[in-house]
Amino acid sequence: MTELTHLKLIANTIRQDIVQMIAKAKSGHPGGSLSAVEMITALYFGGILKHDPQNTGWEDRDRFILSKGHAAPVLYAALAEAGYIEKKLLNSLRQLGSPLQGHPDKRKLSVLEASTGSLGQGISIGIGMALAAKMDRKPWQVFALIGDGESDEGQIWESAFFAGHHQLDNLNVILDFNGFQLDDSTKHILDLNPIKEKWLAAKWHVIEIDGHDMRAALYALNEAKVHRGSPSIIIAHTVKGKGISFMENNNKFHGSAPNEEELQQALAELQLQRTKLEKEN
């Protein structure tokens, strides 16, 4: 099996986990979790993020911060796939007493690098970590994933200017540009374009890709990681609800769970995609 097919199969598994855990919880945010699947898969399983599930406190690990905390299911699914948590724990999402809170909570799940959920703070937290690594002359890097809706927040731009000014090249951001926020399309609510130019103006190294192209994701993440002299951002153009026909670009699934019938249809579609991947191989 090729490395790419292997990663695509992991992405498929993560998608299944996302819809299943949200359906079980009867609440959650499938749309913005599904749009980020390829980027998270490439990061965690494509050899980009230096990490060791057997040694979670490893000081020289790379750090990942999910700034758009409502996409917690994609992160939980990746952590389960990597072996940080047990797969069956995914069924406890959002339930009383579960470490898998509705939004990431570092106190409840210690392998998380930050608590998020109030938008806009992830890059800033990452800057603090990146500064610490620089001061200690440590090689580890920081990755943060933000959303396009999240980019309405002023703090995103405070952090963009600071990291660019200080040439924090051990900081890498993934912008999951899926085109929607809760109420409507980002173009309609607050158009961020030209987005690439904004980050260039903030003195960042900007890479623009199709965020569902696994090969492009790997190349872009690697390029961001080795780039020196400025922080890097990957503008990943994605589809909200990607991989499930009736969820794609359907903002009903920004923040609501599939019912049982919808879940079965989603799983059937994902299984078809899986079979196709296995045949291609």
Partner: protein
Amino acid sequence: MATDFKIGKATRLAYGETLVELGKRNPNIIVLDADLSKSTMANRFQAAFPDRFFNIGIAEANMVSIAAGLAASGKIPFASSFATFLMSKGFDQMRQSVAYPGLNVKLCGSHSGISIGEDGPSQMGIEDVALACALPGFTVVVPADEIAMRQLLPQIAEHKGPVYIRTSRPKAAIIYDERTTITLGKAHIMRQGTDITIAAMGLMVAEALKAADLLQKEGVSARVVDFHTVKPIDQVMAEQCARETEAILVVEEHLLDGGLGSILARAVAKSFPVKMDFIGLEDYAESGTPDQLLDRYGLRARHIFLKANNLLGS
């Protein structure tokens, strides 16, 4: 007179100078400021340790979350700005980036209260203690003079967990003796008394001591207590004062809602309820000299004296 105090340094200057001393002992101490370091006095640390100082720019939200990232990586960040800008603009970040994961971040708000003077209400931190005390896990400290700052700041650096430190702009009367031991979390009896307790924080402790002198002349024995640690409040001292004096008068250069008075009232109510009254601010003030403002807004020894008499007579 006992209250003929020598005027010392502003607590903000003592903050900056003490940070330098702490920086010499602990290489993990990092200082951040949001373009007010010449006023918060964090620039003292910058001069001594330029590699461990970051001027974040006028971006308090960014600063607080950056401090959280530093703390998550083992550093001990001290981030400062004016009290009102730090608390108001950095509050959501203190809530989510700092308090929620319980990170070891130290925050310092200078220019608290109305005694900043001419710059006016937009620059006056009068809600900061209420906001800081609302955050679970936070310790909130208001040193009254340079000696208190020099003693409390090293304890704050040693303490594991988020801390808010409140400083003042004007030079502060020296009310402590260098040899006194001041302990984080323990209110300090400045002057013994049996009729009434005057509880205060920050610059108001000196005013309370002056008021105690005035009361003494009338034959009233007033105890003065410095509640420098507003949160967690010294429950033992609160109960002791309630049991040993007839009434408690709280004085603070802060809004009455959510400040020292409301916190102390809760502590007293649940242990040994006694008569209480409160001196503080009820609205935004205005421009003027610090002295004019303290007179105009009722934060002088004579105001404390009058209220104490009324409280005992009621």
